[in-house]
């Protein structure tokens, strides 16, 4: 791999990687069982440079911002490289957000250029706020011929001949602005520097290196910190190959493992659990003698790998299971949300290590990772090289807020000095997560101090962002909380959002109101929906400017009501 210490910016590292590994395959893109794209590093360069030249000719200068809203595909990475080549700042936006949210974040980031897939652009064009879009140049991928693009350019046509000038950036310059969520009230744009990414990449590849021939299956959205690093920067600076799938149907994902002999994949816990369920069903269908044989092999593997993984041995003992995953899988990487230890243990016992980690957008990709020496299902691993972690104000059990100091911690929140000051104190990032270290230096997490939930799909949901869906509800006032924020408990998982309602005097909660709440709830994407409601019999405490004092209200509710008072929706 490249020695990243000698690079000042991501663009320079990627540029050298394209030359160093020119004949290696860097990208494969498949739609169902049809392979659509296969590019070597040299092919990638040939496609990216004319785009960079066209961006340059369109006055896209050093420090200018360009947003990408795309599902995982080759054009995402090609566009990102072209942006870095021009010295630009990348703003990767979550393609699963609504068109209104996309427009809000485009405005907040002041992106000069937007690169977007056609179906997402169509949704943005249909948004009532579309006319307010301030993005000057829009490039749309895969637009049908003759489609009305409202002045946008077709990505495929936006290219110019001639070598573009490479623009070198410094380590302290901004590389990306990544929104950790917060579209409704207060967008949280994490400003991450080239230093942040280069150091994160160095730390991760020190423990989990890539090399030419490794095939990484990119399933987590590339806009997410994990896939951006492990499904783009990491593999590219090591000459490895990234496999994109245009559909994430379970059967095509399963086929891809085998067809492309995948080496690594990152998955959110929800998908890992789904894989576990599928395997358990298959195991249960086996005739009893085969099942008994399998159990013996699993027990043997468990015994022989208790100190460290022995992949070759596991592949011999449990060949059919490993063949179903392509036969070359070294590890499932998981993160972004709480993962049940039993699921991790299930895979480890089959000889497929699950590499569990912990991180947040504000800290690049990961702060801790399981080093598999030995495998631990009950922790989120140890701090990565260069990461310092502290437990603030530990209680009698040693549990307190996790604070981090590292070269990977973001510079600041975009245009929000107040929030930055609250979040990074004396150089320490306050994560809002509660944890403690065990005697072996492993971090264990126990919950969150913040009013937010992290779904099994790895989405951060801030209650204030979804409150406006309930605006106008025929009640006196309403507020949304994470249940774990009101009733803290020292465990992760089982997180739900609760809608707290204060009814008008003499108002009764009736079926009409319930239907209204349910209908509004259904308008939200499934991962953002509230799980229940709670009737509160006092006025909400408010500030002089009439904002709800959330913390005070949360504490009042926590003292007077039990978690069991939540009525499920």
């Amino acid at each position: 791999m490249l020695d990243l210490r000698s690079y000042a910016c991501l663009g320079a590292a990627l540029r050298d990687a394209l030359d160093r590994f020119s004949s290696e395959v860097c990208l494969i893109e498949a739609d169902r069982d049809r392979e659509k794209v296969r590019l070597t590093y040299s092919d990638f360069k040939e496609i990216a440079l004319p785009l960079a030249r066209a961006l340059e000719d369109a006055d896209f200068d050093a420090g200018d911002r360009a947003a990408i809203i795309m599902t995982n595909q080759s054009k995402w990475l090609i566009s990102a490289y072209a942006i870095f080549y021009c010295g630009g700042v990348l703003v990767p936006l979550d393609y699963k957000l609504s068109a209104i949210e996309h427009l809000q974040l485009l405005a907040h980031s002041k992106a000069k250029i937007l690169i977007v897939e056609y179906h997402l652009w169509r949704a943005i064009m249909q948004s009532p706020d579309f006319q307010k879009i301030g993005t000057r140049i829009v490039l749309v991928t895969e637009a049908p011929l003759g489609a009305d693009l409202a002045g946008a350019f077709r990505w495929e046509d936006f290219r110019r001949k001639g070598a573009p000038d490479f623009v070198l950036r410094q380590r302290e310059d901004t590389a990306c602005i990544v929104y950790s969520s917060g579209t409704g009230g207060r967008p949280k744009g994490c400003v991450l520097t080239h230093e942040n990414y280069l150091e994160q990449c160095r730390a991760l590849t020190a423990w989990y290196p890539f090399w030419p021939g490794v095939r990484y299956l990119s399933i987590l959205p590339t806009n997410h910190a994990i896939d951006f690093m492990v499904g783009f920067i990491g593999p590219f600076v090591c000459g490895a190959c990234v496999v994109h799938l245009r559909t994430l149907r379970p059967e095509f994902v399963r086929d891809a493992f085998v067809r492309y002999r995948i080496t690594y994949v990152s998955l959110v816990p929800m998908i890992v659990k789904n894989l576990e369920r599928g395997l358990r069903v298959k195991f249960d269908e086996l005739p009893s003698w085969k099942r008994a044989f399998l159990n013996t092999m699993i027990a043997t593997n468990k015994l022989l790998t208790r100190r460290r993984p022995k992949v070759k041995l596991s592949r011999m003992l449990l060949g059919s299971v490993h063949r179903a995953f392509g036969g070359e899988l070294l590890a499932l990487i998981t993160g972004g949300a709480f993962m049940e230890p039993s699921t991790m243990q299930f895979f480890y016992d089959l000889g497929i290590p699950v590499v569990n980690g912990y991180g947040l957008t504000e800290a690049g990709t990961a702060l801790t990772l399981n080093d598999l020496k030995p495998f631990r299902a009950d922790t989120v691993g140890k701090p990565l090289p260069g990461v310092e972690l502290r437990i603030l104000n530990p209680d009698a059990d040693g549990i307190g807020e996790v604070a981090a100091r590292s070269a990977t911690v973001m510079s600041h929140y975009l245009d929000d000095p107040e929030l930055t000051l609250e979040t990074i104190v004396d150089g320490w990032l306050l994560t809002g997560d509660l944890g403690r270290f065990d005697g072996n230096g492993h971090l264990q997490l126990f919950g969150r101090k913040k009013n937010m939930v992290v779904t099994e799909g790895g989405k951060n949901i801030y209650p204030e962002d979804i409150e406006n869906v309930f605006d106008g509800l025929p009640v006196k006032e309403h507020c949304v909380f994470a249940a774990n924020y009101i009733w803290p408990r020292k465990e992760l998982g089982g997180e739900i959002l609760v809608l707290v309602l204060r009814l008008e005097q003499n108002q009764h909660f009736d079926a009409t109101l319930l239907e209204e709440i349910s209908a509004r709830n259904r308008r939200l994407p499934d991962f953002k929906r509230v799980g229940g409601y709670l009737i509160w019999d006092r006025d909400f405490p408010r500030t002089a400017s009439m904002k709800v004092k959330r913390q005070v209200l949360g504490e009042e509710i926590g003292k007077s009501a039990e978690r069991g008072a939540i009525v499920g929706l």
């Binding site: 699963k96 245009r246 149907r249 994407p525």
Partner: protein
């Protein structure tokens, strides 16, 4: 060419049988996550069943934001 109503009815029948829910418990405007007790990953399974049945291909993004049978039927009908 199937009619929209027939498409919708077939979707309800297929969903009921695939997820082992009584057909009479499902109605067109139901939230299928709730009515079938499934997560977003399982809806992809349902989508595959429906694609095979109707012989159409629906990109994953077509399902984004769709949570009731009627809208889903509309998406399929548009491709028949």
């Amino acid at each position: 060419m199937e009619t929209a109503e027939k498409t919708l009815d077939e979707i309800l029948t297929l969903a009921a049988s695939h997820f082992k829910v009584p057909r009479e418990r499902l109605s067109p405007d139901d939230d299928f996550f709730k009515a079938l007790g499934i997560d977003s990953l399982q809806t992809l399974d349902l989508l595959t069943k429906l694609e095979n049945h109707f012989q159409v291909e629906l990109p994953d993004y077509e399902l984004q934001g769709v949570s009731d049978f009627r809208t889903l039927a509309g998406k399929i009908q548009a491709r028949l």
